[in-house]
Amino acid sequence: MKIRLYPLILLIVLLLVATSSSHPKETPAAKNRTAPSSKQEPVAAKTLTIFAAASLTEPFNELGYIFETQYPPIKINFSFANSNILSQQILQGAPADVFASAADHFMALAVERGRIDEAGVQTFAYNHLTVIFPINNPANIHALHDLAKPGLKLVIGAKDGPQGFYIESMLTKASKSEGFDPWFKDRVYQNVVSYENSARGVVTKVRLGEADVGIAYQSDASGFAAQELGVLTIPAELNSRVSYTIAPLKDNPRAELANAFAELVLSPAGQAVLTKYGFLLPNQAP
């Protein structure tokens, strides 16, 4: 009995597969939908792929929306991640049209390896490090010195990531300057309870109140997170300036559109969006 059932089941399955795969192709509606795009360019030409630093997530999503309304039917496909990961992916031939990097170093790497033309690289925003703490400030953070308080729970970005580099530089400067003891940097690192994978992870852990204090980018501490966070500005002479650069990739069939996106970011409208999310602009940087 069982053996006789198998051909029957097979037949049913085959029928189902046959009907489901053939049906949509033959319906006129589906034909109409696919026809115009196949006559013009391949579908891929209608998507602009933008690799952008994770800290740019909010402003770029907004700019992407503006761009899509300006250039229909173009769709923008964002890939947000740490800049070191993005530059690695670009070096390995990832199909990006535009690269927006959070640190000069990673853009320089892509230029050096021939994926980006140096002439096309433009600085479009700056960011600073800032100290953040939960709004009720459980550890009484009032000055940069307080980061060295024993027993503090501090979270920062991964030591070898882009943010870790800026934090190291800031703490080194502080340890050498007046008013700080020379062991300041070491004492701060001793307070670290977690190296988060991204600056975003730092903001989350501080917002949840799991950590007493964190070091984030100024842009991360603005916007919707601002109501749940206390912010301590790091003195300008100690702070590191994080510059953001954008460039289209070389040998790109969509170069014109890629340039158009970079232009939008640098336009007054684009700069206004960046300001809204706490970024500093090239013309107002210290």
């Binding site: 053996i3 051909p7 729970k153 991964a158 070898d160 977690s194 190296y195 994978n197 799991e210």
Partner: protein
């Protein structure tokens, strides 16, 4: 049905059809060892980050197994020997953590045991804070991995016939003697293989750990976390730790197969 042909159960056609998936699974695993041969495995093994991750992974995962044995065995006991109408519900709930995405487990643990969490606030009164500690790593691992032991032990206990327990009771055995001389000898392979599975799963735990315990070398950075963070920084350490985890997983599977064959 025809007795020969391309798709006859014994025909070579199946070997060809099976090849793509077999290669797909084997190639990446072999590739890790191939990559490893291009540099000094033992040199990157001696890096501080690698050593600390291995030590922490071993300590936390073995602690997880010990805790699971102590607190999981009663649960398995309950599931089998004290069946009630809640048994089915309990049985399903126990399985839940093994199916859940580990990130969900991490957030759930944070909501309960985090500093602002329901239980966490009570701990806080006594000056105990769980997130960012090795204890948090053990809790994440136990949450995810303990069900594997409980289910295995329960299956082992279910093989013991009720008649046997009754006659033992008639002969005047007390409950400890029943456990020690009857239940344990009969179900030890299930207990052993369950413990090994829990250990292996605890070693591989990543998602719940990075959310609930954070990432600090020597305290909460277990091998999977070191691999994840490490591959952005030092691919060699990531590859070395990956190879160790593959070897351990392989040995675990072999030893479970061996234990199960011995018991039947």
């Amino acid at each position: 049905m025809p007795k020969s042909g391309f798709l006859h159960p014994k025909a070579g056609g199946w070997q060809i059809l099976a090849l793509p998936l077999i290669l797909f699974i084997l190639l990446p695993i072999l590739a890790i060892f191939f990559e490893l041969s291009s540099f000094d495995f033992f040199a990157s093994l001696q890096q501080r980050q690698a050593l600390e991750a291995i030590r922490l992974s071993m300590v936390t995962s073995l602690t997880t197994v010990a805790i699971t044995l102590i607190f999981g065995t009663p649960v398995a006991y309950l599931l089998i020997f004290q069946k009630s109408r809640f048994s089915h519900v309990l049985d399903t709930l126990i399985d839940l953590p093994t199916i859940l995405p580990p990130a969900v487990a991490g957030i759930a643990l944070l909501i309960v045991f985090g500093r602002q969490g329901l239980a966490g606030q009570i701990f806080n009164v006594f000056g105990i804070s769980i997130p960012f500690t090795s204890a948090a790593v053990v809790m994440a691992q136990t949450f995810i991995a303990a069900p594997l032991y409980i289910k295995a032990a329960a299956i082992g206990f279910s093989n013991i016939e009720g008649e046997l327990l009754k006659s033992a009771a008639l002969d005047g055995a007390d409950s400890w003697q029943m456990f020690r001389y009857l239940i344990l000898p009969i179900s030890w392979t299930a207990i052993l293989s369950g413990s090994i599975m829990t250990w292996a799963r605890a070693l591989g735990e990543f998602g719940a750990t990075i959310i609930f315990a954070g990432n600090l070398p020597g305290r909460t950075q277990t091998m999977p976390l070191a691999i994840y963070i490490g591959f952005e920084v030092d691919m060699k350490v990531a590859l070395t730790l990956s190879a160790i985890l593959i070897l351990i997983s392989f040995l675990v599977l072999v030893s479970i197969k061996f234990a199960l064959r011995k018991s039947t």
